[in-house]
Symmetry: C2
Subunit: 327 residues, 2 copies
């Protein structure tokens, strides 16, 4: 072991949701040394999930030939409303958690300071530190995967508002009476443009007899459909899939315009698995639709950019949080 | 003239839009001593409008038996994007203005310091100072009249974002492909729930043969329709008008939920002529719809309240601005 690697100067970033836990080990300059992944098993309850997070952190550290003693701090993004001061998950509907003292419990397991934030905020923070060199004052992040999350940086700082729940752009209603959303309402942005929404539209059209190269690629049930398959189908000339992806991009552009009309951020970041897989197909349509819908003059100079961090935005942001808090 | 009234301790607040100018004279403790009103005549161009604003200020001051020398500062709310530092109206589509140095021009006319802000921000500031004694940290104001404007107070300060245009809640799309809005898009909040939207719906239904007591009250063309007439019709048992007002209240509730999901303010203020006239008919429906649409848990403790300032919110807020800046 070299002298420098024996110092406690590494950071761990953890991102976890309803289905999986991802942990990454980072240097102080945010270079990722290695990661580990596990399933969440939320149905086993908070205690079991905390243990699984602890084990995932240990696996990632071990993967990098390091020991827990060398870790300065752990940042953690959780899918729900979070009190960053006390480190409590106030509520997380996807996990069915309420008032879980996650920071305290995880520190007990690992003996290292833990810092907690909402996952949308964490992803925004990650892209902000890793990709936005100009350090704009006001940034809004929109992350489109299975669901749609968001985060806000105002005056260079994470903003979470009165109930610490700001940034829930996925449940902004864009289409009163529109398709049903997981939250129970209708017409939410998430029900119109998330991966689940895209897949649902594809699968229901196929059931109704729609022809697509996707069934040639994956079989009639389309069970293993992924965002990347939509890209492949479009590149093979599938107009049906192209139209569905275009429609989603239009909804995203309208959502961006709504956010800009309300908040006038300097930069809007787009990220998450859907953007990662379909940036080339979507970004130009998103920007064009945004320009159609933003009030004249109010979109001037505002940058809409796709993050290159992909699935790593969460762990990078969590490492940034740990770095900020342990400085 | 008493000694105290000879001091330069009064404030003037001005609110102007596409159709009218309203000026009010206030004591330092925000008591309104008198007002004056005039039409804007926007079609005559910026120079003429500046002169009309100056005359309206003079009329208000004269009405209170004061002279301009006794005015410490003038606050001004303008309908558009404003640079509060330079006092320039960057653009105001309703006036067809672009880069008008309103502060400088008006100071030339009146010889008194002028302070400029966007009108949605100004109204929010007015309600904040005059009605919110607890001084909450984060407040969102929604003002529903001919159009719909908004304003944001974050951490106790007006927030206008990168392009100084934040708060444009009226052009948040709630219904993709919905009714046409004055801004050129479809399905904006303003096209669904403003006074113009309500009146358009009433008038078009009447043209299609709908029976309503409104035509008994005002004649078949309904040219002089006002928000208060809708209230009167509902109180006389008109189910058609009741349904139209209910629908607008539901859209307002959804808009409030969108804002709370995004920003989690502590208080949402509702104001403007429509709320002023129809609070009793709308507020309970707005709150109920809001609770249906806000994410579980995220609406906890958030207050939705109707302002009592009515049409005066703008001049009160403008006076508050002048007071803050001349302290």
């Amino acid at each position: 072991m070299t002298e420098s690697s024996s110092k406690t100067e590494y950071l761990v970033g953890v991102d976890f949701g309803g289905t999986k836990i991802l942990a990454g080990v980072f240097t102080n300059s945010l270079r990722c040394l290695g990661t580990a992944k596990s399933s969440t098993k939320a149905e086993r309850g908070p205690e079991a999930v905390v243990e699984r997070i602890a084990r995932c952190v240990q696996d990632a550290v071990d993967e990098c030939d390091l020991s827990l003693k060398q870790i300065k701090g752990i940042g953690l993004g959780a899918p729900g409303a979070v009190d960053p001061e006390t480190g409590t998950v106030i509520f997380a509907p996807n996990l069915q958690w309420e008032d879980v003292p996650l920071k305290k419990d995880l520190e007990k397991h690992l003996g290292i300071p833990v810092f907690l934030e909402n996952d949308g905020n964490i992803c925004t923070l990650g892209v902000y530190e890793a990709e936005l060199d100009s350090k704009p004052r006001h940034v809004f992040g929109i992350f489109i995967g299975t669901g749609i999350g968001g985060g806000l940086i105002l005056d260079g700082k994470l903003y979470s508002g009165f109930n610490r729940t700001a940034g829930e752009v996925g449940h902004m209603v864009l289409q009163v009476g529109g398709p049903k959303c997981g939250c129970g309402n209708k017409g939410c942005f998430e029900a119109l443009a998330s991966r689940s929404a895209l897949f649902r539209r594809v699968q229901s059209a196929v059931k109704d007899g729609q022809k697509t190269v996707l069934t040639e690629m994956l079989g009639d049930d389309l069970n293993d459909l992924r965002s990347g398959d939509l890209r492949k189908a479009i590149r093979r000339g599938d107009k049906f899939v192209e139209r569905i992806v275009e429609e989603a991009a239009e909804y995203i552009g309208i959502a961006v315009a709504n956010v800009v009309n309300l908040l006038s951020p300097e930069v809007v970041i787009l990220g998450g698995g859907v953007i990662d897989a379909l940036e080339d197909e979507m970004l130009a349509i998103i920007v064009e639709t945004f320009q159609d819908y933003v009030l004249p003059g109010t979109g001037k100079g505002i940058e809409i950019r796709a993050s290159k961090l992909g699935d790593q935005a969460g762990i990078v942001g969590a490492a940034v949080l740990a770095r900020r808090r342990t400085r």
